[in-house]
Subunit: 236 residues, 2 copies
Protein backbone atom coordinates (compact mmCIF):
# COMPACT_ATOMS: atom_id res chain seq x y z
CA UNK A 1 0.00 0.00 0.00
CA UNK A 2 2.83 2.41 -0.78
CA UNK A 3 0.65 4.57 -3.00
CA UNK A 4 2.02 7.89 -4.03
CA UNK A 5 -0.11 10.93 -3.52
CA UNK A 6 -1.04 11.48 -7.13
CA UNK A 7 -4.27 13.02 -8.34
CA UNK A 8 -5.58 9.92 -10.08
CA UNK A 9 -5.22 7.74 -6.98
CA UNK A 10 -7.23 10.24 -4.98
CA UNK A 11 -9.85 10.46 -7.71
CA UNK A 12 -10.20 6.69 -7.88
CA UNK A 13 -10.64 6.41 -4.11
CA UNK A 14 -13.05 9.32 -4.08
CA UNK A 15 -15.17 7.75 -6.80
CA UNK A 16 -15.58 4.60 -4.74
CA UNK A 17 -16.70 6.67 -1.74
CA UNK A 18 -19.06 8.74 -3.85
CA UNK A 19 -20.61 5.50 -5.09
CA UNK A 20 -21.32 4.59 -1.45
CA UNK A 21 -22.84 8.03 -0.93
CA UNK A 22 -25.14 7.57 -3.93
CA UNK A 23 -26.20 4.18 -2.61
CA UNK A 24 -26.96 5.77 0.74
CA UNK A 25 -28.94 8.49 -1.05
CA UNK A 26 -31.01 5.87 -2.87
CA UNK A 27 -31.78 4.06 0.37
CA UNK A 28 -32.85 7.30 2.04
CA UNK A 29 -35.11 8.20 -0.92
CA UNK A 30 -36.79 4.82 -0.64
CA UNK A 31 -37.19 5.23 3.12
CA UNK A 32 -38.91 8.61 2.77
CA UNK A 33 -41.23 7.47 -0.02
CA UNK A 34 -42.13 4.21 1.74
CA UNK A 35 -42.72 5.95 5.06
CA UNK A 36 -45.08 8.45 3.42
CA UNK A 37 -46.86 5.71 1.47
CA UNK A 38 -47.27 3.55 4.56
CA UNK A 39 -48.83 6.51 6.33
CA UNK A 40 -51.19 7.27 3.47
CA UNK A 41 -52.34 3.68 2.89
CA UNK A 42 -52.07 2.66 6.59
CA UNK A 43 -49.67 -0.10 5.62
CA UNK A 44 -48.12 -1.20 8.91
CA UNK A 45 -45.98 -3.86 7.29
CA UNK A 46 -44.30 -1.34 5.00
CA UNK A 47 -43.83 0.96 8.00
CA UNK A 48 -41.99 -1.71 9.94
CA UNK A 49 -39.78 -2.39 6.90
CA UNK A 50 -38.78 1.28 6.87
CA UNK A 51 -37.91 1.09 10.54
CA UNK A 52 -35.81 -2.04 10.04
CA UNK A 53 -33.96 -0.64 7.03
CA UNK A 54 -32.74 2.42 8.94
CA UNK A 55 -29.95 0.34 10.51
CA UNK A 56 -28.44 -0.25 7.07
CA UNK A 57 -28.50 3.48 6.36
CA UNK A 58 -26.72 4.19 9.63
CA UNK A 59 -24.13 1.51 8.88
CA UNK A 60 -23.48 3.03 5.49
CA UNK A 61 -22.85 6.44 7.04
CA UNK A 62 -20.32 4.84 9.37
CA UNK A 63 -18.64 3.14 6.42
CA UNK A 64 -18.45 6.41 4.50
CA UNK A 65 -16.94 8.19 7.51
CA UNK A 66 -14.32 5.49 7.87
CA UNK A 67 -13.50 5.57 4.17
CA UNK A 68 -13.16 9.35 4.15
CA UNK A 69 -10.86 9.20 7.20
CA UNK A 70 -8.82 6.55 5.39
CA UNK A 71 -8.69 8.72 2.26
CA UNK A 72 -7.48 11.73 4.26
CA UNK A 73 -4.83 9.66 6.02
CA UNK A 74 -3.62 7.94 2.86
CA UNK A 75 -3.75 10.74 0.30
CA UNK A 76 -3.41 13.90 2.42
CA UNK A 77 -5.47 15.93 -0.03
CA UNK A 78 -5.41 19.72 0.01
CA UNK A 79 -7.51 22.49 -1.53
CA UNK A 80 -10.49 21.37 -3.53
CA UNK A 81 -9.78 17.66 -3.04
CA UNK A 82 -9.80 18.16 0.72
CA UNK A 83 -13.04 20.14 0.54
CA UNK A 84 -14.61 17.38 -1.55
CA UNK A 85 -13.69 14.72 1.00
CA UNK A 86 -15.09 16.82 3.86
CA UNK A 87 -18.26 17.53 1.85
CA UNK A 88 -18.88 13.82 1.46
CA UNK A 89 -18.87 13.44 5.26
CA UNK A 90 -21.24 16.38 5.70
CA UNK A 91 -23.61 15.03 3.06
CA UNK A 92 -23.62 11.57 4.64
CA UNK A 93 -24.47 13.13 8.02
CA UNK A 94 -27.39 15.01 6.47
CA UNK A 95 -28.63 11.88 4.69
CA UNK A 96 -28.53 9.99 7.98
CA UNK A 97 -30.73 12.65 9.60
CA UNK A 98 -33.26 12.43 6.74
CA UNK A 99 -33.31 8.65 7.19
CA UNK A 100 -33.95 9.09 10.91
CA UNK A 101 -36.93 11.33 10.24
CA UNK A 102 -38.31 8.74 7.81
CA UNK A 103 -37.97 6.08 10.50
CA UNK A 104 -39.78 8.32 12.97
CA UNK A 105 -42.57 8.89 10.42
CA UNK A 106 -42.92 5.12 10.02
CA UNK A 107 -43.16 4.69 13.80
CA UNK A 108 -46.05 7.10 13.98
CA UNK A 109 -47.80 5.28 11.13
CA UNK A 110 -48.43 2.33 13.45
CA UNK A 111 -50.17 4.62 15.93
CA UNK A 112 -52.16 6.51 13.33
CA UNK A 113 -53.35 3.31 11.64
CA UNK A 114 -55.56 2.80 14.68
CA UNK A 115 -56.91 6.35 14.87
CA UNK A 116 -59.68 7.98 12.85
CA UNK A 117 -58.24 9.52 9.69
CA UNK A 118 -57.94 13.30 9.63
CA UNK A 119 -59.40 14.32 6.29
CA UNK A 120 -56.92 14.67 3.44
CA UNK A 121 -53.94 15.19 5.72
CA UNK A 122 -51.93 12.09 4.87
CA UNK A 123 -52.25 12.83 1.16
CA UNK A 124 -50.90 16.33 1.75
CA UNK A 125 -48.05 14.87 3.80
CA UNK A 126 -47.27 12.44 1.02
CA UNK A 127 -47.08 15.24 -1.54
CA UNK A 128 -44.74 17.10 0.79
CA UNK A 129 -42.51 14.01 1.08
CA UNK A 130 -42.46 13.62 -2.69
CA UNK A 131 -41.30 17.23 -3.05
CA UNK A 132 -38.48 16.53 -0.58
CA UNK A 133 -37.43 13.35 -2.39
CA UNK A 134 -37.33 15.17 -5.71
CA UNK A 135 -35.13 17.84 -4.09
CA UNK A 136 -32.92 15.12 -2.64
CA UNK A 137 -32.39 13.48 -6.03
CA UNK A 138 -31.43 16.82 -7.56
CA UNK A 139 -29.17 17.80 -4.66
CA UNK A 140 -27.14 14.59 -4.99
CA UNK A 141 -27.11 14.99 -8.75
CA UNK A 142 -25.87 18.56 -8.35
CA UNK A 143 -23.11 17.31 -6.06
CA UNK A 144 -21.89 14.58 -8.39
CA UNK A 145 -21.98 16.81 -11.46
CA UNK A 146 -20.84 19.90 -9.50
CA UNK A 147 -23.85 21.74 -10.90
CA UNK A 148 -24.30 24.96 -8.94
CA UNK A 149 -27.37 26.05 -10.88
CA UNK A 150 -29.22 22.88 -9.96
CA UNK A 151 -28.08 23.24 -6.35
CA UNK A 152 -29.46 26.76 -6.23
CA UNK A 153 -32.74 25.47 -7.66
CA UNK A 154 -32.97 22.97 -4.78
CA UNK A 155 -32.49 25.77 -2.26
CA UNK A 156 -35.33 27.74 -3.82
CA UNK A 157 -37.67 24.75 -3.85
CA UNK A 158 -37.20 24.33 -0.11
CA UNK A 159 -39.36 27.41 0.28
CA UNK A 160 -42.30 25.49 -1.22
CA UNK A 161 -41.81 22.76 1.36
CA UNK A 162 -41.76 25.39 4.12
CA UNK A 163 -45.01 26.82 2.77
CA UNK A 164 -46.65 23.40 2.64
CA UNK A 165 -45.66 22.89 6.26
CA UNK A 166 -47.01 26.27 7.34
CA UNK A 167 -50.33 25.48 5.70
CA UNK A 168 -50.57 22.10 7.40
CA UNK A 169 -49.68 23.58 10.80
CA UNK A 170 -52.65 25.92 10.59
CA UNK A 171 -54.90 23.19 9.28
CA UNK A 172 -54.08 20.86 12.19
CA UNK A 173 -54.67 23.65 14.71
CA UNK A 174 -58.12 24.20 13.24
CA UNK A 175 -59.03 20.50 13.39
CA UNK A 176 -57.92 20.25 17.01
CA UNK A 177 -59.92 23.29 18.05
CA UNK A 178 -63.05 22.13 16.23
CA UNK A 179 -62.82 18.58 17.50
CA UNK A 180 -60.67 17.81 20.56
CA UNK A 181 -61.09 14.12 19.73
CA UNK A 182 -58.56 14.61 16.91
CA UNK A 183 -55.89 16.14 19.17
CA UNK A 184 -53.72 13.05 19.57
CA UNK A 185 -53.81 12.16 15.88
CA UNK A 186 -53.15 15.77 14.89
CA UNK A 187 -50.18 16.00 17.23
CA UNK A 188 -48.60 13.02 15.47
CA UNK A 189 -49.49 14.29 12.00
CA UNK A 190 -48.10 17.65 12.90
CA UNK A 191 -44.82 16.08 14.00
CA UNK A 192 -44.62 14.24 10.73
CA UNK A 193 -45.17 17.50 8.85
CA UNK A 194 -42.52 19.23 10.93
CA UNK A 195 -40.05 16.39 10.42
CA UNK A 196 -40.67 16.46 6.68
CA UNK A 197 -40.00 20.19 6.70
CA UNK A 198 -36.73 19.45 8.52
CA UNK A 199 -35.85 16.84 5.89
CA UNK A 200 -36.08 19.70 3.39
CA UNK A 201 -33.63 21.71 5.48
CA UNK A 202 -31.15 18.84 5.49
CA UNK A 203 -31.49 18.41 1.73
CA UNK A 204 -30.84 22.14 1.40
CA UNK A 205 -27.67 21.66 3.47
CA UNK A 206 -26.59 19.05 0.92
CA UNK A 207 -27.22 21.46 -1.95
CA UNK A 208 -25.16 24.07 -0.13
CA UNK A 209 -22.16 21.75 -0.11
CA UNK A 210 -22.03 22.16 -3.89
CA UNK A 211 -21.51 25.89 -3.41
CA UNK A 212 -18.95 25.21 -0.67
CA UNK A 213 -17.05 22.97 -3.07
CA UNK A 214 -16.62 25.69 -5.67
CA UNK A 215 -15.97 28.61 -3.39
CA UNK A 216 -14.69 27.17 -0.12
CA UNK A 217 -17.47 29.07 1.61
CA UNK A 218 -21.09 28.37 2.34
CA UNK A 219 -23.68 30.61 0.70
CA UNK A 220 -25.28 33.42 2.72
CA UNK A 221 -28.27 32.50 4.84
CA UNK A 222 -27.05 28.96 4.69
CA UNK A 223 -28.10 28.04 8.18
CA UNK A 224 -31.00 25.67 8.60
CA UNK A 225 -34.11 27.76 8.34
CA UNK A 226 -36.63 27.44 11.07
CA UNK A 227 -40.29 27.44 10.20
CA UNK A 228 -42.43 30.52 10.42
CA UNK A 229 -45.05 28.91 12.64
CA UNK A 230 -42.92 29.67 15.69
CA UNK A 231 -44.41 33.14 15.25
CA UNK A 232 -47.97 32.01 14.60
CA UNK A 233 -50.48 32.86 17.29
CA UNK A 234 -53.75 31.62 15.87
CA UNK A 235 -54.71 29.76 12.74
CA UNK A 236 -56.38 31.95 10.15
CA UNK B 1 4.72 28.21 5.81
CA UNK B 2 7.00 25.24 5.16
CA UNK B 3 6.12 23.59 8.47
CA UNK B 4 7.13 20.00 8.94
CA UNK B 5 4.57 17.53 10.05
CA UNK B 6 5.76 17.08 13.62
CA UNK B 7 3.53 16.15 16.52
CA UNK B 8 4.04 19.34 18.47
CA UNK B 9 3.02 21.58 15.58
CA UNK B 10 -0.19 19.62 15.18
CA UNK B 11 -0.86 19.77 18.91
CA UNK B 12 -0.33 23.51 19.00
CA UNK B 13 -2.71 24.09 16.10
CA UNK B 14 -5.24 21.70 17.57
CA UNK B 15 -5.17 23.49 20.91
CA UNK B 16 -6.04 26.76 19.23
CA UNK B 17 -8.98 25.11 17.46
CA UNK B 18 -10.16 23.44 20.66
CA UNK B 19 -10.12 26.83 22.33
CA UNK B 20 -12.53 28.05 19.62
CA UNK B 21 -14.68 25.01 20.23
CA UNK B 22 -14.83 25.72 23.97
CA UNK B 23 -15.79 29.30 23.26
CA UNK B 24 -18.54 28.08 20.97
CA UNK B 25 -19.68 25.68 23.72
CA UNK B 26 -19.87 28.55 26.21
CA UNK B 27 -21.95 30.64 23.83
CA UNK B 28 -24.34 27.76 23.22
CA UNK B 29 -24.72 27.13 26.98
CA UNK B 30 -25.60 30.78 27.47
CA UNK B 31 -28.08 30.67 24.59
CA UNK B 32 -29.92 27.66 26.03
CA UNK B 33 -30.07 29.05 29.57
CA UNK B 34 -31.14 32.51 28.40
CA UNK B 35 -33.78 31.09 26.06
CA UNK B 36 -35.26 28.99 28.86
CA UNK B 37 -35.13 31.90 31.31
CA UNK B 38 -36.75 34.27 28.83
CA UNK B 39 -39.57 31.77 28.40
CA UNK B 40 -40.06 31.28 32.12
CA UNK B 41 -39.98 34.99 33.02
CA UNK B 42 -41.61 36.16 29.74
CA UNK B 43 -38.62 38.36 29.06
CA UNK B 44 -38.97 39.31 25.41
CA UNK B 45 -35.85 41.46 25.41
CA UNK B 46 -33.69 38.54 26.53
CA UNK B 47 -35.37 36.35 23.94
CA UNK B 48 -34.45 38.73 21.15
CA UNK B 49 -30.85 38.83 22.43
CA UNK B 50 -30.70 35.04 22.11
CA UNK B 51 -31.99 35.25 18.56
CA UNK B 52 -29.43 37.91 17.64
CA UNK B 53 -26.51 36.01 19.22
CA UNK B 54 -27.14 32.90 17.14
CA UNK B 55 -25.34 34.50 14.18
CA UNK B 56 -22.11 34.61 16.19
CA UNK B 57 -22.46 30.92 17.03
CA UNK B 58 -22.95 30.06 13.35
CA UNK B 59 -19.93 32.17 12.39
CA UNK B 60 -17.81 30.36 14.96
CA UNK B 61 -18.80 26.98 13.52
CA UNK B 62 -17.72 28.22 10.10
CA UNK B 63 -14.41 29.40 11.52
CA UNK B 64 -13.82 26.05 13.23
CA UNK B 65 -14.57 24.18 9.98
CA UNK B 66 -12.13 26.36 8.08
CA UNK B 67 -9.44 25.92 10.73
CA UNK B 68 -9.85 22.14 10.78
CA UNK B 69 -9.63 22.02 6.97
CA UNK B 70 -6.48 24.14 7.21
CA UNK B 71 -5.05 21.81 9.86
CA UNK B 72 -5.74 18.75 7.71
CA UNK B 73 -4.14 20.36 4.66
CA UNK B 74 -1.10 21.64 6.54
CA UNK B 75 -0.30 18.77 8.89
CA UNK B 76 -1.78 15.72 7.13
CA UNK B 77 -2.53 14.00 10.43
CA UNK B 78 -3.21 10.26 10.59
CA UNK B 79 -4.62 7.86 13.18
CA UNK B 80 -5.72 9.42 16.43
CA UNK B 81 -4.70 12.95 15.40
CA UNK B 82 -6.89 12.68 12.31
CA UNK B 83 -9.80 11.36 14.35
CA UNK B 84 -9.40 14.23 16.79
CA UNK B 85 -9.55 16.80 14.00
CA UNK B 86 -12.66 15.18 12.52
CA UNK B 87 -14.27 14.97 15.96
CA UNK B 88 -13.87 18.71 16.41
CA UNK B 89 -15.87 19.27 13.22
CA UNK B 90 -18.60 16.87 14.33
CA UNK B 91 -18.83 18.49 17.75
CA UNK B 92 -19.05 21.97 16.23
CA UNK B 93 -21.89 20.79 13.97
CA UNK B 94 -23.78 19.41 16.98
CA UNK B 95 -23.22 22.61 18.96
CA UNK B 96 -24.59 24.62 16.07
CA UNK B 97 -27.78 22.53 16.09
CA UNK B 98 -28.21 23.07 19.83
CA UNK B 99 -27.80 26.80 19.28
CA UNK B 100 -30.44 26.69 16.55
CA UNK B 101 -32.91 25.02 18.89
CA UNK B 102 -32.23 27.69 21.53
CA UNK B 103 -32.94 30.37 18.92
CA UNK B 104 -36.19 28.65 18.00
CA UNK B 105 -37.16 28.47 21.69
CA UNK B 106 -36.52 32.20 21.99
CA UNK B 107 -38.72 32.88 18.94
CA UNK B 108 -41.62 31.06 20.54
CA UNK B 109 -41.14 33.05 23.76
CA UNK B 110 -42.37 36.15 22.00
CA UNK B 111 -45.59 34.38 21.03
CA UNK B 112 -46.14 32.76 24.40
CA UNK B 113 -45.57 36.03 26.28
CA UNK B 114 -48.96 37.11 24.93
CA UNK B 115 -50.83 33.88 25.73
CA UNK B 116 -52.27 32.70 29.03
CA UNK B 117 -49.64 30.73 30.96
CA UNK B 118 -50.07 26.97 31.06
CA UNK B 119 -49.60 26.06 34.73
CA UNK B 120 -46.07 25.12 35.75
CA UNK B 121 -45.00 24.15 32.25
CA UNK B 122 -42.32 26.80 31.65
CA UNK B 123 -40.68 25.91 34.97
CA UNK B 124 -40.53 22.26 33.93
CA UNK B 125 -39.08 23.27 30.56
CA UNK B 126 -36.47 25.38 32.31
CA UNK B 127 -35.41 22.45 34.50
CA UNK B 128 -35.14 20.31 31.38
CA UNK B 129 -32.92 22.94 29.74
CA UNK B 130 -30.73 23.12 32.82
CA UNK B 131 -30.25 19.35 32.69
CA UNK B 132 -29.18 19.64 29.05
CA UNK B 133 -26.74 22.46 29.79
CA UNK B 134 -25.17 20.46 32.60
CA UNK B 135 -24.79 17.52 30.20
CA UNK B 136 -23.27 19.85 27.62
CA UNK B 137 -20.66 21.17 30.05
CA UNK B 138 -19.66 17.63 31.00
CA UNK B 139 -19.61 16.39 27.40
CA UNK B 140 -17.19 19.15 26.37
CA UNK B 141 -15.15 18.53 29.52
CA UNK B 142 -15.04 14.83 28.71
CA UNK B 143 -13.82 15.65 25.20
CA UNK B 144 -11.03 17.97 26.30
CA UNK B 145 -9.82 15.62 29.05
CA UNK B 146 -10.55 12.47 26.98
CA UNK B 147 -12.57 11.17 29.91
CA UNK B 148 -14.62 8.20 28.72
CA UNK B 149 -16.26 7.63 32.10
CA UNK B 150 -17.67 11.13 32.16
CA UNK B 151 -18.80 10.76 28.53
CA UNK B 152 -20.65 7.57 29.40
CA UNK B 153 -22.29 9.40 32.33
CA UNK B 154 -23.60 12.04 29.91
CA UNK B 155 -25.12 9.33 27.70
CA UNK B 156 -26.94 7.85 30.69
CA UNK B 157 -28.26 11.23 31.82
CA UNK B 158 -29.86 11.75 28.42
CA UNK B 159 -32.41 9.15 29.45
CA UNK B 160 -33.61 11.51 32.21
CA UNK B 161 -34.14 14.23 29.63
CA UNK B 162 -36.10 11.79 27.46
CA UNK B 163 -38.27 10.93 30.45
CA UNK B 164 -38.89 14.58 31.27
CA UNK B 165 -39.99 15.08 27.68
CA UNK B 166 -42.31 12.07 27.70
CA UNK B 167 -43.95 13.40 30.87
CA UNK B 168 -44.46 16.84 29.37
CA UNK B 169 -45.89 15.40 26.15
CA UNK B 170 -48.63 13.64 28.09
CA UNK B 171 -49.22 16.71 30.25
CA UNK B 172 -49.72 18.97 27.23
CA UNK B 173 -52.11 16.49 25.60
CA UNK B 174 -54.22 16.51 28.78
CA UNK B 175 -54.35 20.32 28.91
CA UNK B 176 -55.39 20.55 25.29
CA UNK B 177 -58.15 18.03 25.69
CA UNK B 178 -59.48 19.63 28.86
CA UNK B 179 -59.33 23.13 27.47
CA UNK B 180 -59.12 23.66 23.69
CA UNK B 181 -58.34 27.32 24.42
CA UNK B 182 -54.82 26.21 25.39
CA UNK B 183 -54.16 24.34 22.13
CA UNK B 184 -52.05 26.99 20.43
CA UNK B 185 -49.93 27.67 23.52
CA UNK B 186 -49.52 23.95 24.18
CA UNK B 187 -48.41 23.30 20.61
CA UNK B 188 -45.61 25.84 21.05
CA UNK B 189 -44.67 24.56 24.51
CA UNK B 190 -44.67 21.05 23.17
CA UNK B 191 -42.32 22.03 20.36
CA UNK B 192 -40.00 23.62 22.87
CA UNK B 193 -40.02 20.43 24.94
CA UNK B 194 -39.32 18.35 21.83
CA UNK B 195 -36.51 20.64 20.74
CA UNK B 196 -34.96 20.49 24.20
CA UNK B 197 -35.10 16.71 24.04
CA UNK B 198 -33.32 16.93 20.68
CA UNK B 199 -30.66 19.17 22.23
CA UNK B 200 -30.01 16.29 24.63
CA UNK B 201 -29.55 13.95 21.65
CA UNK B 202 -27.00 16.30 20.10
CA UNK B 203 -25.13 16.59 23.40
CA UNK B 204 -25.11 12.79 23.52
CA UNK B 205 -23.59 12.77 20.03
CA UNK B 206 -20.82 15.00 21.41
CA UNK B 207 -20.20 12.59 24.29
CA UNK B 208 -20.01 9.73 21.79
CA UNK B 209 -17.16 11.44 19.98
CA UNK B 210 -15.03 10.80 23.10
CA UNK B 211 -15.58 7.07 22.62
CA UNK B 212 -14.88 7.41 18.89
CA UNK B 213 -11.58 9.14 19.71
CA UNK B 214 -10.30 6.22 21.78
CA UNK B 215 -11.59 3.36 19.71
CA UNK B 216 -12.07 4.70 16.19
CA UNK B 217 -15.65 3.47 16.39
CA UNK B 218 -18.87 4.89 17.71
CA UNK B 219 -20.50 3.08 20.64
CA UNK B 220 -23.44 0.75 20.00
CA UNK B 221 -26.85 2.33 19.84
CA UNK B 222 -25.09 5.53 19.03
CA UNK B 223 -27.70 6.84 16.68
CA UNK B 224 -29.83 9.73 17.82
CA UNK B 225 -32.60 8.24 19.89
CA UNK B 226 -36.10 9.19 18.96
CA UNK B 227 -38.62 9.81 21.69
CA UNK B 228 -41.07 7.18 22.84
CA UNK B 229 -44.11 9.39 22.32
CA UNK B 230 -44.21 8.43 18.66
CA UNK B 231 -45.84 5.30 20.02
CA UNK B 232 -48.18 7.05 22.44
CA UNK B 233 -51.87 6.85 21.64
CA UNK B 234 -53.51 8.58 24.56
CA UNK B 235 -52.19 10.36 27.63
CA UNK B 236 -52.47 8.33 30.79
Amino acid sequence: MQDQHIASAFDRDLEAIQALLMRMGGMVETAVLDAARSLDTRDEELASEVRANDKAIDALEEEINQEVARLLALRSPVGRDLRTALSVMKIAANLERVGDYAKNMAKRTSVLANADPVEGSTGALRRMSMAVVSMLKDALDAFITRNEVLAEDVRVRDEDVDQMYNGLFREFLTYMMENPGTITACMHLHFIAKNTERMGDHVTNIAEQVVYLSTGELPDESRTKMDQTSLAVEPS
